[in-house]
């Protein structure tokens, strides 16, 4: 933890060199006096987040189901639910779907977002208005976009099947066919999120100095080459932070899938960990079992967040 101290103290203290005693006085009184400011929100958040996680873990160790209160007596606590979850085929297929969703959704969103950001960075007229339009789906609730896509994917009258009929493929059962449904869901989610990755990349592109681009041009590099060789490698930080947000979303995505059917069971072939967990808990009342699924989800999410936070910390941007 030696490095922690240096990163913390360099910024504000440099201005106050020589004021040692007064600084110390300020620090002491500030810490105490500022505590209501960060303390109250921290307490409320701490109870909700970490109290909630602790409570969830406790329930997951019991055998609680149905109406009765969980039995927390020591003899009753074990990891049985965790092994039971791992052994169930529903969990494994949900995990597999979740992995496909996570990888495909994140990759395509990043690529499309980068492409759109570069496109809008070419000095397009009205580029603020265009950006607003591209980002519009992101302002809508998943409940709403799910309804809109349900209509787009409608077998008889939907736009997607008007297109497929025009091309000559014939109507496709976008949501009813289990081998296509997950792809349809991913496509709709990409539609909703690529505006977001575009905004993140645009912020990155606009923070770059213009002269790099000009220098590359003077050297005779083509636009495409300049982007691949010089600009895109500098988008690493933007890519990492956008990827983390997208991956965590892919893990907890529930609303869109629920809203497609309005029932606990999402379309066949699209069951993911989040939908499985909510169904086991609130439809079937298997509290301990679903709490164990939730713990697995939390561990997966932490597996994404922890390296990211460490990376941010190493970059000194925390």
């Amino acid at each position: 933890m030696g490095t922690t101290d240096t990163t913390e103290s360099t910024k504000p203290r440099t201005e106050e060199v020589g004021w040692e005693t007064k600084v110390r006085y300020f620090l002491n009184s500030d810490l105490v006096r500022s505590s209501p400011y960060w303390g109250i929100p921290f307490l409320l958040m701490g109870i909700a987040v970490y109290g909630g996680i602790g409570f969830n873990t406790a329930i997951s160790l019991t055998d609680a189901r149905g109406l009765g209160a969980p039995d927390y007596s020591l003899s009753n606590l074990d990891f049985e639910m965790y092994t039971q979850v791992l052994g169930s085929s529903a969990f494994l297929s949900a995990a597999q779907n979740n992995l496909v969703l996570l990888v495909v959704f994140t990759t395509v969103c990043l690529l499309l977002g980068l492409f759109l950001a570069i496109l809008l960075d070419q000095g397009i007229r009205y580029n603020n208005t265009v950006q607003t339009i591209y980002l519009l789906p992101m302002a809508l609730s998943f409940v709403i976009t799910a309804q809109v896509w349900l209509w787009m994917y409608n077998y008889d009258f939907g736009v997607m099947n008007i297109i497929t009929r025009a091309i000559g493929i014939g109507p496709v059962d976008w949501i009813g066919n289990p081998s296509i449904a997950l792809g349809s869901v991913i496509f709709a989610l990409i539609w909703q999120f690529s505006g977001y990755t575009m905004v993140v990349y645009l912020a990155g592109l606009r923070s770059l100095p213009d002269d790099q681009f000009e220098a590359a041009h003077v050297d005779g590099a083509s636009t495409l080459k300049t982007y691949i060789r010089i600009i895109i490698p500098q988008m690493k930080e933007a890519s990492v932070s956008a990827a983390v947000v997208l991956m965590v979303f892919a893990l907890k995505a529930f609303t869109f899938l629920y809203a497609l059917t309005g029932r606990y069971r999402p379309p066949n072939g699209t069951d993911i960990l989040a939908t499985l967990m909510v169904r086991q808990a609130f439809k079937l009342g298997k509290w301990a079992y679903s709490a164990a699924i939730a713990t697995y989800l939390l561990i997966l999410a932490l597996g994404v967040i922890a390296p990211y936070l460490y990376y941010q910390y190493r970059q000194g941007s925390l």
């Binding site: 810490l31 921290f42 958040m45 909700a48 329930i59 265009v130 302002a139 809508l140 999410a301």
Partner: protein, 309 residues
Amino acid sequence: MASSSSDQTFDVASLVEDYSLYRISQYVLVILFIGFFLAPLETGIMTAFKTNRAVAETIPLMPPLAEGFTLDNMMFAFNALSGAFFNSLFMAIPATIGSVLFGSMAAYGLTMVDWRGQLGVLVLFLIGIFLPYQAVLVPLARFWNNIFPLASMVEPLFVALPILQGYHANLVPLMITHIAYGIPICTILFRSYYQGLPTSYVEAAKIDGASITKIYRRIILPISKPMFGVVFIYQFTQIYNEFLFAFTLITGSDTPEAVVTLILPAVGASTSGVDFGIRMSAAFLAALPTLIIYVAFAEQFAEGLKTDA
């Protein structure tokens, strides 16, 4: 995309032509993507104003024509959602104000004051942003239903109040839940803003002997007005659009206290399938508050998302 510029000769005419072709293809792409992002929304809005016959017989992208036009679906959807609109706003506005204020306070405490262990507290806030809410759902349901049934405690109070009904009390736990889980993101948004502020104001005020509270009220609050706008818009949209907490804490879509997002997946559904005229009308109405905010404050919304990352 980059089809040209490999030719190094100085032929002005071909350069101009190349350039404009390149330019045209850029604009074509921009317009194609505008179509890609707007078409699903456009079909929804068009369908909302069509009669059932027009829904079945016309292309969804086409606007409703004379006979195919109707406001009936809109009226039906409005009646189905009107109570829910009140519930959503009644819950979302105080929840937004609460989490934004707490977030600003926490960010102030964490950036303006220098003390050890801050980084640890910050990391705990950051994990709170990314937390998959599934990990706290079962405890949340148990807490508000069995351990601390706040809704039934405050119900008599709500019965006595004008405008409100007893069932609105069920929205109070949801409100508090949103405040608590909204604090981390609001804190981080404000923190990134406060870090960019010049420290000289605060230092000067400290030397003048101003207290922490005075610095917050007299200096930080006034200069963070624009950021309050950003966070407020972002957070209101999030809470209004949210589904999972509402789904967990409110018993069903047919209860009088249900919020908009909870009712929408059930509107216009019958045994014979979904009536898309009604469903799209309801979706359009449900989207309206966030759409208005988004169109009016698009920049602030984009700002919120950017800092989020």
